[in-house]
Amino acid sequence: MPASERDILATELRWSAVVAGAVGIIFGAILYAAVALHANPPSNIETIDPKTLHLSGEFTESNLGTRVEADGQVTTRIVATQFTFVPQCVVVPANRPVTLRLSSPDVIHGILVTGTNVNTMVVPGYVAQVHTEFTASGDLLMPCHEFCGLGHSQMWATVRVVPPESFRPDQDGRVACEKP
C-alpha cells in the first residue's frame, strides 16, 4: 500500500472513532432519559373493540372525563371521534400524577397538549395511555393532531389545569368543567 493511501486510511480510522463517539453520546443520552428519567413513549398494547366502544365498559358516556379512583389515582378518559372529543373539556389537578386514557370508535386520531410532553396516537382497536403531571394552572389546547377527515381542523378540546385546592371531586370522585 503506498504511503499516501496509508495516510488516508489512518485519517479515516481517526474520523471513524469520532463517529463512534458521537453515536455513543447520542445513544447514551437517550438511554439515560429512558431509564433514569422514565421518558418512554406510550406503549401499552391494550386492545378494545372500536365497534362497541361506547356501548359498555370504560368508554361509555357516563364514565368519560376525570375521575379520582379509590386509590387516589387521577384518571381522565376521553373518546376521540370524527370530529370531536368527548368531553370537549376536562379538568385535571396541577402537580399530581394524571393518567390520560383515550380511544377511538372510528378512524385514527392523535393528541398533543400544547406546552407539555403529552402526545399520543389514538388508533382504533387500542387504548392509548399517557402518564403525566401538569405543572402550571390554566387552559391548554388539546387538538387532534392526525388527519381524520375533512372536519379534522375543527377537532380540539380544552385541558383545564387547576390548582390542587380547586380540584374538588364529587362523592363519585368525578370532576367536570363548569358550564360556561
Binding site: 421518558a39 406510550p42 403529552v118 393532531h145
Partner: protein, 541 residues
C-alpha cells in the same frame, strides 16, 4: 438526440413538471394556514391540495427523477448501452398511466387521504392502483439496473463496478426491500377494502406495514444527492474523491440501516411495546454513521480541490473553492441544510423526546429541510450538470442558475426555521386553518406569515429552475462530450467482493428485518386485535 437521452429527459421533465405544480399547492396551503384569508379556501380544497402536494413531491418527482438519473448513470458510468430499453419505455408509460389515475382521483375529491393513506380512511381504489403502477414501473427500473450491472461485471471480471453505478444499484436493491411493506398494505388490505370486498381493517397492522416503507423511502429519495456528492462534486470542484472505498461502505450501510428503523415513525403508537421501539431507535442511531462518513469524505475531497486552487491553512481551502459552479454552490448550501435538518432529525428519533415534537410543525420542518432542502437542491445541481450532455447545448447563464439555488436555500431556511419554532410551541400538523382568535394560536400568526414569505421565495425559485432548464432547449446544438464522473485519489484496481455486490448485504438486511419487524408484525396474528370499520371518503358528500 440518442434514445437514452430521450429516455432520461422524458423522465426528468415529468419529475420537474410535477414538482413545479406541487410548489403552487404548497404555497397556497401555507397561505390557508396563515392569518391571511386565502382564495378558494374550503377544508376539502385544502386536503385535496395536501394530498396532491404530497403525492407529486414524494412519489412522482422522486420516482421519475431517480429512474431517469439511473438510466443516465448506467450508460455514462458503465460506458455501455442500456439493456432492455423497450422495457424502460414500458415502465415510463406505466408510471404515466399510474400518475394520471392518481391525479384524476385526487382532484375529483375521491382520494383525500393524503399521501400516507391513514386506513380505515379509504379512497377510490383507482388512486391506490395508480400508485401501485408507479411502484411497478420503479420495479422494472430496479431490474434493469441489476441487469446492467451484472452484464458489465460479466464483461469486466474482477473489476470494481464504477462507484456511481454501484450506488445506483444499492438504491435499487434497497427500494425492492422498501416497497414490500407498502405493497403488502395496499394489495392485501387497502385495495380490497376500497373495492368493498372487506368491511374492516386491522389498523395497527396497516400502520406497521406502512412504517416498513416509510423511512427507507426517504433514503431512496436521498441516494441521488449522495451519488452526486461522491461522484460529481469532487470533479466539479476541480479535485478528486478522497476515498472510493468509503463511498462503497456508506452506500451499503444505507442499504443496511435504512430498513429496520421505520418504527421510529410509530413511537407514539399504542400497538407496539417499548422494547421494539427501543430496538429500532438503536438501529436508527446507526443511520447517522453513513451520513457522518459522507460529510467527512466529501469535506476531505473538497479540501483537496481547495488546496489545489491555492487555499492554505486550516480552513483557507474553503475560501478558494469555485462557488461560481452550480454543483459546488449547491453542495455547500445542501450541507448547511443537512446540518439543521439532521439536528432536528436527532430529536425526532430520540425515543422519549419524540413526544415533544410528534405531529407538530417541527417534523414538517425537518423533512422539508432534508428532502426539500438537501436532496432537492442536489436534484437541481444534477440536472444542471447533465442537461448540457442531454441536450447538446451549453447554458445561457450560470448566473441565473446560481440565483435559483440561492433563492431555494434562502426560501427553505425562511420557511422551515419558523416551523421548527412553531412546532416546539405545539403547532400541530395537517390542519386546514387555525383559530387565530385563540390567544395561544394568535401568538403564532407572525411566524406563520414569515414562513409563507419563505414559501413564495421557493415558488419563485422553482419557476426559475424550470425556466433555466427550458432555456437549454433553444438554439443550435453542438456534439456534447461524454459525461465523466469524478475520479478517486486512488482508483481501486480491485475491491473486496463484499463491496462490489450485494449478496452478503441482502442476507444481513434479512436478518435485521426479521429481528426488527418479525414479532411486531407477527403479534397481530397472535393478538388478533379488534378491527376498525372502513370509512370510504369522497362518496355521497
Amino acid at each position: 438526440m440518442k434514445s437514452p437521452d430521450r429516455l432520461t429527459l422524458a423522465h426528468l421533465w415529468v419529475a420537474f413538471a410535477a414538482f413545479a405544480v406541487a410548489c403552487f399547492f404548497g404555497v397556497w396551503q401555507m397561505w390557508a394556514r396563515s392569518p391571511l384569508a386565502a382564495p378558494f379556501f374550503t377544508p376539502e380544497h385544502y386536503f385535496i391540495s395536501v394530498t396532491a402536494h404530497g403525492v407529486s413531491m414524494a412519489f412522482v418527482l422522486t420516482t421519475f427523477f431517480i429512474m431517469g438519473f439511473g438510466y443516465f448513470t448506467a450508460e455514462s458510468a458503465l460506458e455501455r448501452p442500456l439493456p432492455g430499453k423497450s422495457w424502460a419505455w414500458l415502465a415510463f408509460l406505466l408510471g404515466i398511466l399510474g400518475t394520471v389515475m392518481a391525479v384524476v382521483t385526487i382532484l375529483s375529491g375521491r382520494a383525500t387521504v393524503l399521501y400516507t393513506f391513514y386506513p380505515p380512511l379509504t379512497a377510490s381504489p383507482f388512486f391506490y392502483i395508480g400508485l401501485v403502477l408507479v411502484v411497478v414501473a420503479s420495479w422494472i427500473w430496479c431490474v434493469l439496473m441489476l441487469v446492467a450491472m451484472a452484464r458489465w461485471k460479466h464483461a469486466n471480471p474482477g473489476r470494481p463496478v464504477p462507484l456511481a453505478m454501484f450506488a445506483t444499484v444499492a438504491n435499487a436493491v434497497m427500494w425492492l426491500w422498501t416497497t414490500v411493506g407498502v405493497a403488502s398494505e395496499l394489495l392485501l388490505i387497502v385495495i380490497p377494502a376500497a373495492f368493498g370486498w372487506r368491511e374492516t381493517v386491522d389498523v395497527g397492522l396497516t400502520r406497521t406495514l406502512f412504517s416498513w416503507t416509510l423511512h427507507a423511502i426517504v433514503y431512496f429519495w436521498l441516494f441521488p444527492a449522495y451519488i452526486a456528492f461522491y461522484t460529481m462534486v469532487p470533479k466539479a470542484a476541480g479535485g478528486r474523491l478522497y476515498s472510493d472505498l468509503m463511498g462503497r461502505l456508506s452506500f451499503v450501510l444505507f442499504l443496511l440501516y435504512s430498513l429496520p428503523v421505520g418504527m421510529h415513525h410509530l413511537f407514539m403508537d399504542p400497538e407496539h411495546s417499548t422494547g421494539f421501539k427501543f430496538l429500532q431507535m438503536m438501529l436508527t442511531v446507526l443511520v447517522t454513521v453513513p451520513t457522518l462518513l459522507t460529510v467527512f469524505t466529501i469535506a476531505a475531497s473538497l479540501e483537496i480541490a481547495g488546496r489545489l486552487r491555492g487555499g492554505r491553512g486550516l480552513f483557507g481551502w474553503l475560501r478558494t473553492l469555485p462557488y461560481d459552479r452550480p454543483m459546488v454552490l449547491a453542495t455547500a448550501l445542501a450541507f448547511v441544510m443537512l446540518f439543521f435538518g439532521g439536528g432536528g432529525g436527532l430529536v425526532n428519533m430520540s425515543y422519549g423526546l419524540n413526544a415533544l415534537v410528534h405531529n407538530t410543525s417541527w417534523v414538517t420542518a425537518h423533512f422539508h429541510l432534508i428532502f426539500g432542502g438537501t436532496v432537492v437542491i442536489m436534484y437541481f445541481a444534477i440536472a444542471y450538470a447533465i442537461w448540457p450532455r442531454l441536450t447538446g447545448r451549453q447554458p445561457e447563464s450560470l448566473g441565473l442558475q446560481r440565483l435559483q439555488l440561492w433563492l431555494w436555500f434562502i426560501g427553505m431556511m425562511v420557511m422551515t426555521l419558523p416551523w421548527h419554532w412553531l412546532g416546539l410551541q405545539g403547532q400541530w400538523r395537517r390542519v386546514a386553518q387555525f383559530d387565530y382568535a385563540n390567544p395561544i394560536i394568535a401568538a403564532w400568526g407572525p411566524w406563520v406569515v414569515l414562513s409563507l414569505a419563505g414559501g413564495l421565495l421557493l415558488l419563485a425559485s422553482a419557476l426559475l429552475f424550470v425556466w433555466n432548464l427550458a432555456s437549454y432547449h433553444r438554439g443550435a446544438t453542438q456534439a456534447a462530450a461524454p459525461f465523466r464522473f469524478a475520479l478517486a485519489v486512488h482508483m481501486p484496481e480491485r475491491v473486496p467482493a463484499m463491496l462490489n455486490g450485494f449478496g452478503v448485504w441482502n442476507m444481513l438486511v434479512l436478518v435485521l428485518m426479521l429481528a426488527a419487524y418479525g414479532w411486531p408484525l407477527a403479534q397481530f396474528a397472535v393478538l388478533s386485535p379488534p378491527q376498525a370499520i372502513v370509512h370510504h371518503v369522497g362518496q355521497g358528500g
